[in-house]
Amino acid sequence: MPRTITIQPITRIEGHAAIDIHLDDEGNVADSKVRIMALRGFEKFVEGKPAEELPRIVSRICGICPWQHHLASNKAVDRCFGVTPTRTGSMLRELMQTISHAEDKLLHFFFLAAPDFVMGPDADYGVRNVIGIVKTQPDLAKQVVRMRYLAKMILEKFSGKAIHPIAGVPGGFSKPLLEAERKEMISQVSELLEFALFSIGFAKKEIFPKYLDAVKSLGTIRTGFIGTVDREGALNLYDGMIRLMRPDGDYVDFDAQDYVSYIGEHVEPYSYAKFPYARCWNEGFSLDLDSPKGIYRSNCLARINAADKMATPRAQAELEEFREAFGRPAQATLLYHYARLIEEVYACEHALELLNDPDITSPEVRARVEPGAGTGVGCVEAPRGTLIHDYSTDANGLITRANLIVGTTHNIGPINMSVHQAAKSLISDGAITEGILNRIEMAVRAYDP
């Protein structure tokens, strides 16, 4: 008899989702769906609000990546009001965003994903979590907690609020960085960089080799990729051109202002969240595992695939080693964890570059702004992917229209495919174990922040 297995909620991810796996008469996988359960409607309720208030409202889309929403929104409002932020204002925004990236990757890797690898995918669910890590690896856990706290305290101490930030303002940043603060941050970020290098070394030695078979096969699909690159084609998290790469590695670069010509959003009846796809490929939308249409992926693996190189030396060395082993573009889904740690190294190195720029302590942090009618797109790379805020304002500077493409949503199609692939390869003759169901969830966790 056909039956449906439901995994609900999907756990150790940020957000509300469930998996349905439909089995046929023989107990083999006929179909599977990932249902995204939440709809909050920011696109509607920001209408009529003063545009300069939006960076402080839309941050609440995500408590994990509030800096990215805050800054994409600020960039969109800058454009609506026709203001160019001061160089220092932009750099302070980027510095805070870069440090928030560094903090988030530690959270994801060690707290959310690592239990599957350190405790093992078949471990009892009572210990397959951060508490299990704390009990079995107390020294490592203590170090992770300390490093995350260090990063969070840099953000809070300088910018007031680490979660749901307020210090980015249209025209730049709300306050200057003092020389004493700069010196302190350099020493703190250097410590973070050291831990980033330790983390990637630890993962390459202790984790990835043990699970190499799973890394190569679990949830693996073939798709295109999206990411942001600078003028030299190097990965950038704050600004640049959007690069959309086909599965074979061919790509097109475009300005975020033109995103509507490149990206469409498909709607499926089982998910409140929409499914972005590459409209510009003119092949429509399909999640078919053998011949997907319009499907590309975002987040760290996509960014390092899309970029020609990393802009900082240690991250570049890691990228070269990665490409040597897995090629470009690398398609294996669990490689997201590896890519995340390469980006972690980049984020720490780049934060130091920004801190060593003499302009970073200039008092010119904020350009004067007048409200007015306009349209503008703001784009940054959120942990989960390319984040697009697109607003229009009226003559009084109130929002008349907003469209958002949130990083997470680029991957909803690919997550559905990876789950389907994992379920098909792991389930046969109706045999289900907790370990199998957890492995299917691991295909989702790879894409999380």
Binding site: R12, A38, V145, H164, V260
Partner: protein, 308 residues
């Protein structure tokens, strides 16, 4: 013996849960003293059994239930009711849980208006109808938790400061009721107030406040409201600065927007703020719009769709 805790997030962003893990090494103290029996973000307990073959949504019994987020759809309501049934003490964590929070700004619109806009944006391939297969139907609006279930303890904040989350949890472990500041943000704000100012109109926050040299301390800067910027400090509950006390936004030279909710649980920040402005002779029509004054407190029926 450790205390059992169940944690749930409803119409929320996960910021409250991140605040929970942002306690630094105090997190290890907490993890040592409590036993999580259900927490979608931290562990793998499932609603319908570990093999997904259960018939009813089930959460294990716990001494303490932490709920963040408001209630916006049928699943949120079902989870909240199950948490109430299984937990001895329910804590509403964060301003979405206590007052609806930012997502309750949606209460100015009908659900149909929201669906119509979301599924018809310029990038969307318009569907014939909104998703309806296996996704929980929306309720008519976004509710604060206590509009649907009884709440024992309110811990507002967007998000609550990690120092306060730690204080609340350790107080509960010792069997005490956690202290909540009953005063306003202004009571802890170090800026200089000179009494009634000459401000007649409010300015939008489009330019920097005056504060002298870049390193001028916050306690030498003049009150932002007295400088003519809208600042919700007078009508907002104190506590956002955590152990450091100085309100978080003020420390970045940015005015307060009310993220800790009203000073009293049942306060109305819109009315209270307009009263405060009017009594100081400030022209309230100088504000470009008013709904934003309820941006954290749109639950409890305070924000409603405009009647056609």
């Amino acid at each position: 013996m450790s205390v059992t805790v169940a944690q749930e997030w409803l119409n929320s962003c996960s910021g409250c849960e991140i605040a929970l893990v942002d306690m630094g090494e105090r997190l290890l103290t907490v993890l040592d003293a409590v036993e999580f029996v259900h927490s979608p973000v931290l562990m793998d307990h499932k609603y319908f059994g570990q093999l997904g073959d259960g018939k009813h949504l089930e959460i294990p019994e716990a001494a303490v239930g932490l709920i963040s987020g408001g209630i916006r759809n049928e699943e949120h309501a079902e989870v909240a009711e199950e948490m109430r049934k299984k937990c001895q003490t329910i804590i509403a964590l964060g301003t979405c849980a206590t007052h609806g929070g930012i997502p309750a700004l949606v209460n100015s619109y009908t659900s149909q208006e929201v669906l119509d806009r979301y599924y018809s944006t310029e990038t969307t391939d318009r569907p014939d109808h909104a998703p309806d297969q296996g996704v929980p139907p929306l309720l008519d609006r976004c509710y604060a938790i206590d509009e649907k279930i009884a709440v024992d303890l309110y811990l507002p904040g967007c998000p609550p400061h990690p120092d306060q989350v730690f204080l609340a949890l350790t107080s509960l472990l010792e069997g005490k009721i956690p202290p909540l500041p009953g005063r306003s943000v202004c009571d802890f704000c170090p800026t200089v107030r000179e009494g009634k100012g000459s401000v007649k109109k409010l300015r939008r926050f489009l330019q920097a406040p005056r504060y002298g040299a870049p390193d001028e301390p916050i306690d030498r800067m003049r009150c932002l409201l007295e400088q003519g910027f809208l600042c919700m400090g007078p009508v907002t509950r104190a506590g956002c600065g955590g152990d450091r006390l100085t309100p978080r936004c003020i420390s970045a030279r940015v005015p307060c927007r009310g993220c800790y909710g009203p000073v009293k649980q049942d306060g109305n920040p819109l009315l209270d703020m307009l009263n405060a402005l009017a009594s100081n002779g400030i022209d309230i029509t100088s504000l470009p719009e008013h709904a934003s004054l309820l941006r954290f407190a749109g639950g409890h029926g305070l924000l409603r769709p405009k009647r056609a």
